[in-house]
Symmetry: C2
Subunit: 213 residues, 2 copies
């Protein structure tokens, strides 16, 4: 590594040092996090360098207890982007016997989307809702995914867990409110912000907190 202003540090220690800096800055901002939420919020800040997430991430009551219960049932994580899927730690998944998939680039989904003029995200959710297995929905991009999911919930479908952090300007805030008003166990980022990296960070934090590494 070069001289100059760089911190000399082993690759393996970069994450630890990053979390130390994040903790210090949270302290400076007088932000105190709940123990069950802290590793998730800190990992999202680590992924975005954006401390706003300390205020905007919302957790349903007893979310961790409920997440653990789902984890015991060998659930399927369904993401709304291949980017989020790429960001989920594969070693952690395999250690916990959890599978993660994304249907967005599947040929049938693409063809049906074109034919019906419906977003691929909606069709992916529809497909996931038909799978008889506990599903952890992970939405980092498409508000239409949350709207579709809510419609299935209104007809009686029960998602096991919902991570709702789509980003954007059209129907994003409103779609997140649908989940916040529901009875489902959730982690939601209120407002416009979020994204695939945020979705993956939340999944990874949950996996790490439950024996994934």
């Amino acid at each position: 590594m070069m001289n100059g202003n760089f911190t000399h540090i082993k690759p393996a220690d970069i994450e630890t040092e990053s979390f130390r800096i994040i903790e210090k800055e949270l302290e400076n901002r007088k932000i105190r996090l709940r123990a069950d939420q802290a590793p998730i919020i800190k990992r999202v800040i680590h992924t975005t360098a954006d401390f706003e997430y300390a205020d905007s991430l919302v957790f349903s009551e007893n979310f961790m207890e409920k997440f653990r219960k789902v984890l015991d049932e060998k659930p399927l994580i369904v993401t709304d982007t291949n980017m989020a899927l790429a960001g989920i730690n594969k070693a952690a998944l395999s250690k916990l016997g959890v599978e993660a998939v994304c249907f967005m680039a599947e040929k049938e989904i693409m063809a049906e989307s074109k034919k019906l003029g419906v977003t691929r995200a909606s069709l992916s959710i529809k497909k996931a809702c038909e799978i008889e297995r506990p599903i952890i929905f992970t939405v980092g991009n498409a508000p239409t995914a949350l709207i579709e999911l809510k419609e299935h919930m209104d007809r009686g479908y029960k998602p096991s867990f919902v991570i709702a952090v789509p980003v954007g300007f059209v129907n994003v805030v409103e779609a997140k409110e649908l989940i916040l008003e529901s009875e489902v166990p959730y982690i939601v980022n209120r407002g416009r912000k979020g994204g695939s990296t945020v979705a993956a960070a939340i999944v990874n934090a949950l996996l790490y907190m439950n024996g994934g590494r």
Copy 2:
């Protein structure tokens, strides 16, 4: 789509409407963007819902002219994460005859990283620098990738183009400065923020502005 507060809109129109909202808010903030930078900055804001990028994205002189020249040489885009690679529009790549790769998860890179205690990002950059073809470096995650790249540049290597938007708390700000001080054509996001989604958004904007869709 549901009733209530939702904007009723066709999926194909969501992006157009999002950009309209972004343009209006930029106007409200009295931010005027240069014509060659505007589509890139707006796409990054679209990806992050974070208007800070209007201030922090920095472009080298005549970056577009230089990018176009590289594009004519059928370059290879090398990303430092599979997430960024997943986010690059494959139809745009194929339309322009450009290839994109990520070496991070390759077995030899992983083995060598473990053996030498060097980040996979550094080793990926080293591998890219040995390829005799114009390379567009796209760094959304690892400052060590930029540090490694700068060392090759100091020994005479000339990258064709560098997109430097790693995110984080350790050596990120400093590593970006290395690129800002260099003679290479670049797009850099100054400060801590960035990420794989930002990297992919910049690549996509550049491709779209040059016939990629």
